[in-house]
Amino acid sequence: MTDTFIQLDNLTKTFPGITEPAVDELSLDVCEGETVMLVGPSGCGKTTTLKMINRLVEPTSGRIIIGGQDVTDANPDELRRGIGYVIQQGGLFPHMRVRDNVAAVLQLLKWSSTKISQRVDEMLDLVGLDPAVYRDRYPKQLSGGERQRVGVARALAADPPIMLLDEPFGAVDPIVRERLQDEFLRLQREICKTIVFVTHDLTEAIKMGDRIAIVRDHSAVAQFDTPARILAKPANEFVRDFLGENAELRALSLLEVTSDMLSTLPSISVEPGEVDPARAQGPATVVIQDGRPVGWVTADASDRTFLPVEPLVLGPRTHLADAVGQMVRVGAPAAILVDEAGQLVGCLEFSAVPRAVVHAAAGSAPKSDRVDKEVADADHRA
């Protein structure tokens, strides 16, 4: 899973007539099955870098190694048939129907026509387009989002192990973009491609990437790490500037709440319908009713009040941001976390939040490792 699959070794590209190289001695390793985001200001050479992987741009010097094989001098047409490529608006052929667009690579690979039409329908289904409705349409009869989906279907049709995406969701409105991003994430969990994804949108990079390479001029990599670690600990001034202010706040929505962050606060059990603030101990007390936490009793000077809480479930989908959200919403100094059964697991105190961010910066496991761990745990349980 974590084997290097695409290795860019000292890639340099100098365009004729321009003295400054567009990409200068770039080295980057992409592991199998991971999504690496290339993000940076426009004109920084990230698209050129992407195009060197499928040799739409021939490198001036350096090597490209894919799956252990040096492809720097391989036949580019054959190389490209094994690499999916998606660009803004899908790059569809306007004179071909959707089915012919999706089939384009399959025809190059000389599939039989019955196999092709089966595969086309399968691909349209995969990207959420009803084949019966969309098969015979022309690109101009599609919305921006639909075009983008067809572009993804075409890129995936021949089941290439690698996908290159160049600002694929750049030309659609924010709502559609978000939906396409979510769908792509779901799709990627199914298909597990090795993906290099170019964007100028930091939010997209954080959302989509297992790792992010922040690129500055001439494709110099300013930082290459997991989104959480980049946000929590920018490596240098350039990254800090690029992330903008309050980057740490973005980190909160990436870092999971884990059991080691939790602490135990005093709690009281009450009968249904009866809350007695007088029994509270200390500044904040968890109120438990029928074995389930239902809220807080807080002590503010002499005034004691009951604050009802909708507890969070401890798990991979609960992030620090959710916990902070709960604290702010309720007005309590900590968040209440429960297990799947609704039993109290512990409380996340506000002071634990910055500690968790600092801890993540010091070195939390990258996302892909985490997946491994989950798989290993599952195996273990089985």
């Binding site: 499928n54 690499i83 660009i87 052929f93 306007p94 004179h95 190059l108």
Partner: protein
């Protein structure tokens, strides 16, 4: 003698001239398309070669047709050969120019997408670039064909085929009762050839231009 009487006497000749006119125009347009589109494909990637090709075919078009027919008379004799050659040469400019403009106008991102999925340059040209440029190329062919319909009439001076002969006969017999009818049959015939070709091109565009490119 009325026009209908004239036609009953000379109708067979007019029909034959009509056939010859249509034939020489269609044939010259076909030859011009083969030469012109091939030239356009050969040069469109190189701006200087494109400019040269357009300039040369433009110069050809500026030679007065009368002069060109007489010039070719010495080389190719009388009848079909000089007329067909001259018309083919005249057809080149719109076809070469529109082929170049059409191919250069194909969206670069689409061509790159074709390359990126592993199409060879040749396949990309045949499957992507030419079909996308086709509406513009076809317009060039149509302009050429309609241009040739009128130019072909002058071919009669080198004894070429077509309705020009009827017009010349009329001119030479001015004052005789049939002069006007002769010229009229030539002119009306030429107009019909033009209208007919126009319909053919509309049908051709319907059949050959992808629905994805039509408005």
């Amino acid at each position: 003698m009325s026009f209908s009487e004239y036609l009953s006497y000379y109708g067979a000749d007019v029909v034959q001239q009509f056939g010859g006119h249509l034939g020489v125009v269609v044939l010259a347009t076909l030859l011009g398309s083969i030469v012109g589109i091939s030239t356009g494909i050969a040069v469109y990637r190189v701006p200087r070669a494109s400019a040269l090709a357009i300039k040369v075919s433009g110069i050809v078009l500026t030679i007065p047709s009368l002069a060109l027919y007489v010039l070719l008379l010495g080389l190719l004799g009388l009848g079909w050969p000089p007329v067909l050659t001259a018309l083919t040469l005249y057809s080149l400019l719109p076809i070469v120019q529109n082929t170049i403009v059409g191919l250069c106008g194909v969206d670069a991102a689409t061509v790159e997408a074709a390359k990126a999925i592993g199409m060879s340059r040749r396949r990309c040209l045949i499957r992507v670039e030419l079909p996308m440029a086709w509406p513009i190329i076809l317009t060039g062919v149509r302009v050429s064909a309609l241009l040739l319909v009128s130019t072909a009439a002058i071919g009669a001076i080198v004894n070429g085929p077509g309705l020009g002969e009827a017009i010349y006969t009329g001119l030479n017999q001015i004052g005789t009762p049939t002069a006007l009818y002769s010229a009229l049959s030539g002119i009306v015939g030429i107009v019909i050839v033009g209208v007919l070709l126009n319909f053919v091109f509309i049908a051709l565009a319907r059949l050959t231009v992808s629905g994805g490119l039509r408005d």
